[in-house]
Symmetry: C2
Subunit: 400 residues, 2 copies
């Protein structure tokens, strides 16, 4: 079960969060004193990757030991040319020097506006304060430091046992727009005290991300800065997980549970959201077909605005199912909206009362669309939001 | 040169447009008395195709002679099950009987809400009036009859000569949303008096559609009812075009010119538009890469809202370039916005004055984005719109 506690629920980690400049530019830090802490991460697959993403990947290639994550918000340090890479490297060097660890034991993340140089003088000037303030209880300060258009900090934790030994897992996520993660997501930071071998730690993260952060979309846009980081300091007393055994399965399942909770927190705080919309594509020919259709529906501006308007314009769902061009047979298709069978074996429901009841159900904040293709056994679920006037207002005025 | 005249600019055709019910449900008709009039059409490639699309394709398979096009607006007759197909067939039968032509000489089109049954009794009751009112001068009544969220009728014409013989071409288009045509577009009706062999007529249409209607997008959504129809009654005195000779090239080029004009009219009338945005991807590795990137940028909600807000948030353009995942080399990329070199060889422009001037230029209604990949010689141009608050308002309240 998910706890409402934050990153501080896991022992052996310290956190810090301070302002760099104004309200929108902040610094965050996660640190563990464990010299054997392992780190794993998944990164955006956008062709254009921010400097901190490139640097974190480089650090991955040097060592699996990771003891610190430095984050700045308000500036993505993306597409900042050679200077951006030099700035990222300088940040890691200064951090590691002051923490008395190796540069390759650090991860780096940035979020905010693309294409602007980092205010390096201000940032480096603030670094001693950031480090000095780190404390096992400052998880909220950290969670707040990484927010951009997020309206609230998003953290969660859980505990479980492996052979009688308690393991803690906690995560913190930021993100509200530019969200269609691809093999990664917006910034997410997960810590655990589990003892687990590095390749399994990485594998667990990739597996857990697939059905959670990689199955949500707000606006079909994929960030240049998406990352999920996972640190494991090994402070728990479990027998180290060194094989894909039942302990590993438990770890993956609980990690997935945590990430799913955070992914839903992210959707709940999506820019301008008034509805959460879950799209289940079932009985598809294969996973590719199910996924293509689920995303075509989830990202259709016309589907999303219809739900914002609380209109049962199910024809738009069909339009989007068809535009994926996956070879759907429209004569055997079923569609349910909030449990109402709107289309059955290709024939639309015509009773006006039933239709009206279904439309009434759209006043709920939670909408469920089931699309049953009757062509096979594959399925895919994607969670998205409606498209509201508020989304436009937020994104038409982001820089200023 | 494009004339402001409508379909009536071509001789040998009659037009009609009347109300079926209220202001939103109308009937339109195009008819030619030429017994040798040929018809060609391109249709939506959405998996889910409306009954009139299925019927028109069936009529294509019977004969190349086409003398009439019947259109209704306000109801798409899409996803209306078996009854929808029966209704479409009945419409064609009644029309052909009253016009004293064969059913297979008719095309049928519908536009409007998906998934509602046609008001067949009312429609068939109105058909005699529709036919009685047909006249060579009623092109405006026809153009108005096919409008849904369009704010104005959209028609254009042109004339040219083939070996001293005058040829006329005219077209009429409807569409404002659900626009990312795929091998077809929204409803478009083109008439000509040219004498041209049927396979060349069809080929000319496909060629002309590719760089015009197939290169625009409003909202990434593809209609179930998209069609472009072209009738050629052969009333001009040109030597019949029977080979891919210079006459054919002239015909294709002038047809493309007409369709491009109509496509730009459609963009100009797009739902909620405040800016027209042209995206040119140049020096791409191949056409696929250029096309994927052009559409990724054109359909990015974050790019579109930034332009609505007149913000030079060029980082979002880069984000969208990268999310197409085509293997872009970000270190050799150039980006120009309204002629301002914002990114050159992967390095962003940093001079504040220059940046401010570039941002000022976004107050224009016409925005030009040039993305030079420096990876090859392929290119693609896509024209789109911004994403405005008005778009959401229109589409959140479409049915009611």
């Amino acid at each position: 079960m998910i706890d409402k506690k934050g990153l501080s629920a896991v022992s052996g980690y310290q956190f810090s969060g301070i302002a760099i400049e104004g309200k929108k530019k902040n610094y965050g830090l996660i640190y563990t004193d464990s010299e054997h802490s392992l780190g794993a991460a998944v990164y955006t697959r956008n062709d254009i990757q921010a400097a901190p993403v490139l640097l974190s990947k480089e650090m991955d290639s040097v060592t699996t030991t990771k003891r610190a994550i430095l984050v700045n918000s308000g500036n993505a340090n993306a597409f900042t040319g050679k200077q951006g890479v030099l700035d990222a490297r300088k940040s890691i060097e200064c951090l590691s020097e002051q923490l008395k660890i190796k540069p390759e034991e650090c991860y780096l993340a940035s979020t905010g506006v693309i294409g602007q140089k980092l205010p390096m003088d201000k940032m480096l000037g603030k670094m001693p304060e950031l480090i000095k303030k780190k404390d096992t209880k400052q998880d909220l300060a950290f969670a707040q430091s990484i927010m951009t258009t997020d309206t609230k900090p998003k953290q969660a934790s859980l505990t479980f046992e492996l052979a009688g030994q308690k393991i803690s897992l906690a995560g913190c996520v930021k993100g509200a727009g530019m969200i269609q993660p691809n093999m990664a997501t917006m910034l997410c930071f997960v810590v655990t005290d589990a003892k687990i071998e590095h390749t399994l730690l990485k594998k667990a993260l990739v597996m857990a991300v697939e059905d959670t952060f990689n199955s949500i979309t707000v606006d079909s846009d994929t960030s240049t800065n998406d990352c999920v980081f996972l640190l494991a300091n090994g402070y728990a007393s479990n027998m180290p997980i060194e094989q894909e055994n039942s302990d590993f399965s438990v770890f993956v399942n609980r990690l997935r549970e945590l990430l799913q909770h955070l992914a839903m927190e992210l959707i709940a705080d999506a820019e301008g959201i008034t509805k959460k919309i879950t799209i289940q594509v079932k009985q598809a020919r294969d996973k590719e077909q199910a996924t293509a259709i689920a995303y075509a529906v989830a990202n259709s501006p016309l589907v999303k605005t219809a739900f914002f308007g609380e209109q049962l314009n199910w024809g738009r769902i069909l339009m989007a199912v068809g535009k994926a061009m996956t070879g759907v047979d429209s004569e055997i298709l079923d569609i349910k909206i909030n449990g109402y069978e709107i289309v059955k074996q290709g024939e639309p429901q015509t009773e006006a009362d039933y239709y009206q009841q279904a439309e009434q159900s759209l006043k709920r904040e939670d909408v469920m669309i089931e699309i049953v293709l009757n062509q096979g056994v594959a399925s895919k679920t994607v969670v998205t939001t409606d498209l509201s006037i508020e989304y436009i207002k937020i994104n038409a005025n982001y820089i200023s």
